[in-house]
Symmetry: C2
Subunit: 263 residues, 2 copies
């Protein structure tokens, strides 16, 4: 049974008081919007992801002991009215699942035929370049007041201390210099992507695809982690002749053109 | 004027006494074969690449002071009988040029529409994984007797000493351990590529494309640098359930099905 407005896909996103903020879950939001699939969002506190997934009987997705349970996840309704939905975790796996379950031409394709491995490699490339922003935007998110609920905030600080060996707030004096370092890596990526060239605004030219959602998720994450005046994002949107600002406009349009339903 | 059997494309390859051996020029050989374009090979000694390109009035291609002039290069005949041919350097640029100048459907496409940036990123990914083999196969090539002409051999040893800070032959005691290290990185790439899966034997599934020529060039380079019994290549061809051996068979077939002309 395909998802309907009355019985939509459940999309598990990560909560902040300012709405969705994870670069990873955002890819799935765009995937659902682009495919015009009806969905309902269930926000989970970052501190409760493991508990939630265990409760639903979903096995761990990664071998990383720090993050065995991750979001995004979707629950696609079962064809059996009393049956369990199909749970799919990880934005790339979700895209593959949805392209298979809700295929073209009825539903637009997110990973065009033949490009699966290429998209996966490009995903890794983009996420690596995006790692340059981590020591800027995560400290900025930690410094945002009234952004996460108290439990999530505590979890966020502690779990990132386990990764970086020091508190996120200790990075704040370095964020400007880290930002400049990240810029170089990001612009090298931008050169490869040739966005907005004669072939069209997206990585595959005129055709939007999953890799654009990966880029969109990173730009969205920069904005949400920083919040407020968004001086870093405003800077970034001018890089490479305003290429990122123009790209973002197209992504923001897809975010706004949502297939989310209110049940 | 399109190239003809009588007036073919000139393909500048790098000489060895055992024929073509460069992973980079091999990509262009496969590109020409796949597009069924008539070509004639001109072999250049590694020591003479710079001299040759300067003589033809071709500007340097890279900013790397050690390798400003590189091969492969093609000379596409001019439409003016007295005119200069069009010189194009670098296998990716050559593929783009040939796809544009000799377009589908008459000539098979090497970089399918919309995949240019994805192919470029994947090219970088594959070449990075291939770098793991450098400290194995370059020393093996240096140890091959009667492989390069004397001038090229001298140039090869000296130019690589400038890169590695020591003579290639000094790497020989480490090649077995370096080979095992390279294997891990290559198999991680193999996992991403999903070659030979249900979609087909190539990176894009059923459709062969430039990225397969990149992989083919590396496998060919391993074989040619080692030569003789090829025990390393025989080992590699068994990795991941024999995936690389099977992939190589398909590449070797395209190499053998050559559009090279004897004028």
């Amino acid at each position: 049974m395909a998802a309907t407005k009355e019985n939509p896909i459940i999309f598990y996103d990560i909560h902040s008081k300012d709405g969705s903020w994870s670069p990873n879950t955002y890819k799935t939001r765009l995937t659902l919007n682009y495919k015009r699939l009806p969905y309902k969002v269930e926000y989970v506190s970052m501190a409760d992801i493991e508990t939630k997934l265990k409760e639903l009987g979903v096995p761990p997705t990664t071998h990383n002991p720090l993050f065995k349970y991750i979001l995004p996840m979707i629950a696609d309704p079962s064809s059996d009215p009393n049956g369990k939905p199909t749970y799919v975790v990880d934005s790339f796996e979700i895209a593959l699942y949805l392209d298979k379950t809700y295929p073209a031409p009825k539903y637009p394709i997110v990973i065009p035929p033949g490009t699966r491995a290429l998209q996966k490699i490009a995903l890794e490339r983009v996420m690596n370049a995006g790692m340059g922003f981590v020591t800027v935007v995560l400290p900025l998110a930690a410094a945002r007041t009234n952004f996460l609920d108290d439990k999530a905030y505590e979890y966020y600080r502690q779990s990132r201390r386990a990764i970086f060996g020091r508190d996120l707030l200790e990075f704040l004096p370095e964020v400007d210099s880290n930002w400049e370092k990240a810029r170089g890596g990001w612009e090298a990526l931008g050169d490869q992507l040739e966005l907005g060239g004669e072939d069209g605004p997206f990585v595959m030219g005129a055709q939007i695809s999953f890799i654009d959602f990966v880029l969109g998720g990173l730009l969205h994450g920069v904005q949400k982690c920083e919040g407020g005046e968004m001086k870093y994002w405003k800077d970034m949107s001018t890089w490479q002749g305003g290429m990122w600002g123009e790209f973002w406009e197209k992504i923001a349009k897809l975010e706004a053109d949502s297939s989310e339903v209110s049940v």
